[in-house]
């Protein structure tokens, strides 16, 4: 139970954080909520999958999910997909990992640095693959999906 609450709390924080960074990137106001939801969904996917598949695979799947949802939303709203994906990917980006790598280098711990560095690098590669692969899916699919969602009374 406590674990579920933890997960919900973290996803809520991912949602809030994503919205805050959407504002810093000057995303138009009407898209804030969707940016936040996509960021939260990405974090939820990462947390739920990482115990089973390990962190790299979980980050890949989470990034893929973020891009997928962003494309879907972009087709529905007829606006550039960048708006949703940039902020949504933020919780997954290994910014802190890179800073720990350099910190360990400065502190003269090459072994720790290479471990941190490898982690950050694999995370980044997972995100890159997630982005590139989901962008290869044909645009047509998203149009169809968006239309189905619309007809079945999905969210406006």
């Amino acid at each position: 139970m406590a674990e579920i609450l933890d997960l919900v709390w973290e996803c809520a924080m991912a949602l809030v954080g994503t919205i805050a960074f959407a504002l810093l990137f000057s995303v138009p106001r009407q898209y804030y909520l969707w940016c936040g939801l996509i960021g939260g969904a990405g974090w939820a996917a990462y947390r739920l999958l990482s115990p089973f598949w390990g962190r790299t695979a979980a980050i890949f799947c989470a990034a893929a999910l973020v891009i997928f949802l962003s494309r879907l939303r972009a087709v529905r709203e007829r606006c550039p997909v960048t708006i949703f994906m940039v902020a949504g990917l933020f919780p997954l980006v290994p910014g802190a990992g890179i800073y720990w790598t350099v910190y360990e280098l400065v502190m003269d711990n090459p072994a720790a640095a290479s471990q941190r560095g490898t982690e950050a690098l694999t995370d980044a590669i997972a995100i890159v693959l997630g982005i590139i692969i989901v962008f290869e899916l044909p645009q047509k699919w998203f149009r169809v999906l968006a239309r189905i969602g619309h007809r079945s009374g999905g969210s406006p």
Binding site: M13, F21, F25, S26, V27, P80, T82, V86, I98, F135
Partner: protein, 272 residues
């Protein structure tokens, strides 16, 4: 499809030459590129505008910081133009607005003069208020601190550091300076503030506090746009953008690492 003379005038307005159409397309491309749009979107927009106003041959070569354009039609000769566009800040609202405008132009809703006025409005649309940006930076830092395993006091510390960070970015550091130096300073400032707050007793995990409060410095747009450019085989601009992103990340990390190790050495030990 060659447009007839009447059709052209109806779409463009009276007495509009090919040159003005090109300038309009270039202006739209300029705003897009400057605000952080992907290359293919810039290309696509320029082509749409040309097609909508009856330009028959056009070629645009676009880099992440420049547009080279030639175009012509049967009535007039070729027009060529090169424009340099420096990398600037992220304005996704402008990307969205130009995108919408180019759709409307394709549907034939605007004459050239009208479109130009609209682009002017987009270019000079107001920025977000500094207060909001500072608050957003703080709240975002605090929220991400939790994701990096921080507790609530950690998040409060990250909130303060993140907000202070944007204060120094928006006020004292707002002048043309080397990106490397700027980010070194920002990283150093973040680490210094975080250590100070933690040693004053606000927050326990220095790791999470710093991790959260440097997130506003992560070059997310340059990174994702760079990846998309590379994915679309726009290697030159993709690698320029990736280089930009990596440079920023490493300067921030170096600033943080050096500051912490200096403090470490001065105090002979560090809590957290």
């Amino acid at each position: 499809m060659p447009a007839s003379q009447q059709e052209k005038i109806a779409r463009r307005g009276e007495n509009v030459s090919d040159q003005e159409v090109c300038e309009l397309a270039l202006y739209a491309g300029h705003i897009l590129l400057e605000s952080g749009a992907e290359l293919f979107r810039v290309e696509d927009t320029i082509r749409r505008i040309h097609a909508a106003y009856g330009m028959e041959s056009d070629n645009a070569f676009i880099l992440s910081n420049g547009i080279f354009l030639t175009a012509g039609s049967t009535r007039e000769g070729l027009f060529a133009r090169v424009e340099h566009i420096p990398i600037s800040s992220s304005h996704l609202d402008r990307v969205a607005a130009v995108n919408q405008l180019s759709r409307e132009i394709s549907e034939g809703k605007h004459t050239v003069a009208e479109a130009r006025t609209l682009l002017d409005q987009i270019q000079h649309s107001p920025e977000k208020k500094n207060l909001f940006r500072i608050l957003a930076s703080g709240i975002g830092s605090g929220a991400f601190c939790i994701l990096f395993g921080g507790t609530i006091p950690d998040a409060l510390a990250a909130l303060i550091v993140g907000a202070l960070l944007y204060v120094i970015i928006l006020y004292p550091l707002r002048r043309p300076m080397s990106k490397i130096v700027l980010n070194l300073l920002c990283g150093g400032f973040t680490a210094g503030c975080a250590v100070l707050l933690v040693s004053l007793g606000l927050g326990e995990n220095l790791d999470a506090v710093i991790g959260g409060s440097i997130v506003p410095l992560v070059p997310g747009l340059a990174f994702t746009t760079g990846i998309r450019d590379i994915g679309n085989q726009d290697y030159i601009s993709g690698s320029v953008r990736m280089l930009d992103a990596l440079l920023v990340i490493f300067s921030v990390a170096l600033g943080v690492g050096v500051t912490i190790s200096i403090i470490h050495q001065l105090s002979g030990g560090l809590r957290g």
